[in-house]
């Protein structure tokens, strides 16, 4: 039996807009994945700790408060400090195109914004995990 993909769906920062994050959590569960939801108002440190302890395949961070350029550099720094090299990091929410491009430069594997169809999110995560291979 293939191992379900493990995903941490995380809300970082102070914004409470969790509609998207919870729709994504439910979509991924219904696609057979194991989803850990961080709950609201988490810090980058808390999220990275959880992602490492849970050894998730994918860390998905949802943001609608515009703090992406503060949060993601921290996440990558923390992952680096913990010696984690193979975690797939994706972003979701609302942000300007320039920021989305900058995040991809920084190492975010995929940026999936508002109105990304649920099936597309499942397909993207599945593809990214397959590309990564066994770990």
């Amino acid at each position: 039996m293939a191992q379900p993909i493990r995903v941490l769906v995380a809300k970082v920062g102070l914004d409470g807009h969790d509609r998207g994050a919870r729709v994504v959590a439910r979509t991924l569960r219904d696609a057979g994945m194991d989803v850990i939801y961080s709950g609201l108002h988490r810090t980058p440190e808390e999220v990275v700790n959880a992602a490492v302890q849970e050894d998730v395949d994918v860390l998905g961070v949802s943001l609608l408060s515009g703090v992406q350029m503060t949060v993601f550099p921290k996440i990558f720094k923390l992952l680096d400090e913990k010696g984690v090299k193979d975690m797939i990091v994706v972003a979701g929410g609302v942000m300007p195109d320039e920021d989305a491009a900058a995040l991809k430069q920084m190492g975010v594997h995929e940026v999936m914004l508002q109105d990304t169809p649920p099936a597309a999110i499942v397909a993207t995560l599945t593809r990214l995990v397959n590309e990564r291979g066994e770990r």
Partner: protein
């Protein structure tokens, strides 16, 4: 005067005659047409899943008493809260604004006023909304980003510099920390020598919908509701024209609910607040006239109009029948409307102007008292000046050019709209009855009952967008690969946090520490005693240089914080 006997628009024989006509029409004209070409869909539904008939006739008004339709400005206010509505005065054009420091937002306010805006609406940054000072570690990166940063009275002074608060009404979109902002506003008004009874405006302060939907909360539910109660009773006694609460369906909708859930859940929250205030011994007519509401203007045009009309009717009945209100002022629902931010798209973003126009028109035909129209760029970042100007112009076109304002409730009597209004009313009361039967709103919030229903409709909506069942131009139909013109988005000023923190720290340095400590100790004493009102001590604290964070952090030691059990 209102007759207590239910009378309908048509007498029973006329209803039967109309039904007979309908059956005949279905059997002949409709059947012949369908034989040639089927309709586009098997069944037609509103955005909120109400079935829509092929057409509506007078027979569809058979179960709507004419007194429920009534006249504008008369119970049950279905057709409008006031008899003359926009013939006397247009709705307040109230574009929300807020970013950076008080000074930065003050400039935007003045720009909007110069463009013809008639009310002010303030958006706060996330730390302010959540009760953190700008120099708290949780605030990093968020200071002044999504709204204006307010930590102290000094920030409030900068925010409203050179704006006459007796002349313009000010709305503050804030919840768990709202009472502190209200205290700052009061102190500012006192410093300027204003008469508190002349100030008009509102704080949102609708904490229950935060647990249901928007998730901006600090304290557990009980102390949070007590604070709301204190705001309402304080304002009833000291600020006769001020709305101490804006009971909001908007955020319930943005979190993914149906329009019906939006309406019913907001009224469920209303009931809790009224009950809490009544427990203090205050009479319903002493405070109910200042209760105000905030709803979204969604995409389904007629459904939204019916929703607004039904809300007014339900509110009037609840206040009169459930709470025994006597004063008609206590029964007329007044609401602010904002067009639906969640309906806006990034692709082909200029189409957002059209979406917003239709939503705004529905709000006006539904009889709103004030309106915010979204900027076309809100799926990118907070709006630019250009986007805000166009949004304001949209309202001005409706008000000045379209002539829809010349008669009140122009859709009154529409078979479809009246029928949908009555269906909404019935379903809203069904839900409220269900809530009562299950043990009440607060219990159900703790159990995640509302949250689950909102989540279910949100999930359903996502699937419908994916399947194309819910059309979205540029996203699932009319997708155009031509790149959109480059959009200028509002740029965040990186110096904001430093400027803001400098002022907050200066205020802390300059205040009298002994006085501050003494007042903080008093705050905890007041907070421990549920029978006291928290407003007076808060007013003294902000006057003495307390920051919002000082007050919130101190109360956290007493009350703890709320943590939700999420549902999916």
């Amino acid at each position: 005067m209102r007759d207590t006997v239910d009378r309908n628009v048509l007498d029973p024989s006329a209803v039967e005659a109309v039904r007979e006509q309908e059956r005949d029409w279905e059997a002949n004209e409709v059947a012949q047409f369908l034989a040639k070409q089927a309709e586009r869909k098997e069944s037609f539904l509103t955005l909120g899943d109400f079935p829509v008939k092929r057409t509506y006739t007078a027979a569809d008004l058979a179960d709507t008493p004419i007194d429920d339709i009534g006249l504008p400005g008369r119970y049950p206010f279905t057709r409008g809260p006031y008899p003359t509505m926009y013939r006397s005065r247009n709705w307040t054009m109230r574009q929300i604004a807020g970013f950076g420091t008080g000074e930065d937002t003050n400039k935007r306010f003045k720009f909007l006023i110069a463009q013809g805006q008639t009310g002010i609406s303030t958006d706060f940054d996330m730390p302010t909304l959540m009760g953190y000072d700008s120099d708290h570690p949780m605030s990093e990166g968020e200071v002044g980003r999504e709204g204006v940063a307010i930590d102290t009275l000094a920030d409030m002074e900068a925010l409203f510099e050179d704006i006459d608060l007796e002349k313009i009404s000010v709305s503050m979109t804030i919840n768990p920390s709202a009472w502190i902002l209200l205290a700052m506003y009061i102190v500012l008004a006192q410093q300027r020598g204003y008469d508190l009874n002349k100030l008009s405006g509102t704080i949102q302060a609708d904490i229950l919908k935060e647990y249901m939907a928007q998730k901006e909360y600090v304290f557990p539910i009980d102390p949070s509701v007590r604070i709301v109660r204190d705001c309402i009773t304080y304002c009833a006694k000291n600020m006769k024209r001020y709305n101490p609460i804006n009971i909001s369906g908007y955020h319930i909708s943005e979190a993914g609910s149906s329009p019906l859930q939006e309406a019913a859940f907001a009224l469920a929250n209303l009931i809790v607040y009224v009950e809490e205030v009544l427990k203090t011994g205050m009479q319903v007519d002493e405070f109910a006239p200042r209760l105000a509401f905030f709803f979204v203007g969604q995409a389904d045009f007629f459904e939204e109009i019916a929703k607004f009309r039904a809300l007014r009717r339900c509110y009037a009945k609840i206040m009169r029948e459930r709470f025994g209100a006597k004063n008609p002022e206590s029964m007329r629902l007044r609401f602010h409307c904002q067009t639906a931010a969640a309906s806006l798209t990034k692709p082909q973003y200029m189409v957002n102007v059209m979406r917003t126009t239709l939503q705004a028109l529905a709000a006006v035909l539904g009889g709103c008292q004030s309106l915010h129209t979204n900027g076309y760029d809100e799926a990118f970042a907070i709006p630019t000046e250009d986007a805000m100007r166009l949004a304001l112009r949209t309202q001005q076109v409706i008000a000045e050019e379209s002539n829809v304002t010349q008669t009140t409730d122009p859709l009154g009597g529409s078979y479809y709209v009246e029928s949908l209004t009555t269906q909404y009313e019935k379903r809203i009361f069904d839900i409220l009855e269900d809530v009562d039967a299950r043990g009440g709103t607060i219990k159900l919030i703790k159990e995640g009952w509302f949250q689950q229903q909102i989540a279910d409709f949100a999930y359903e909506t996502a699937l419908r967008k994916q399947s194309g069942e819910k059309a979205l131009i540029g996203v699932n139909i009319m997708v155009d690969d031509t790149p959109d013109p480059k959009i200028e988005t509002h740029a965040y000023d990186q110096t904001t946090a430093d400027r803001q923190i400098a002022r907050t720290q200066r205020v802390r340095r300059e205040r009298d520490p002994a006085k501050f400590e003494e007042l903080m100790a008093q705050l905890l004493e007041v907070a421990k005693d549920d029978s006291q009102n928290i407003m007076p001590i808060t007013i003294e604290l902000v006057r003495a240089g307390a920051t919002m964070g000082d007050i919130i952090e101190s109360l956290k030691t007493l009350w703890g914080t709320y943590r939700e059990t999420p549902v999916y």
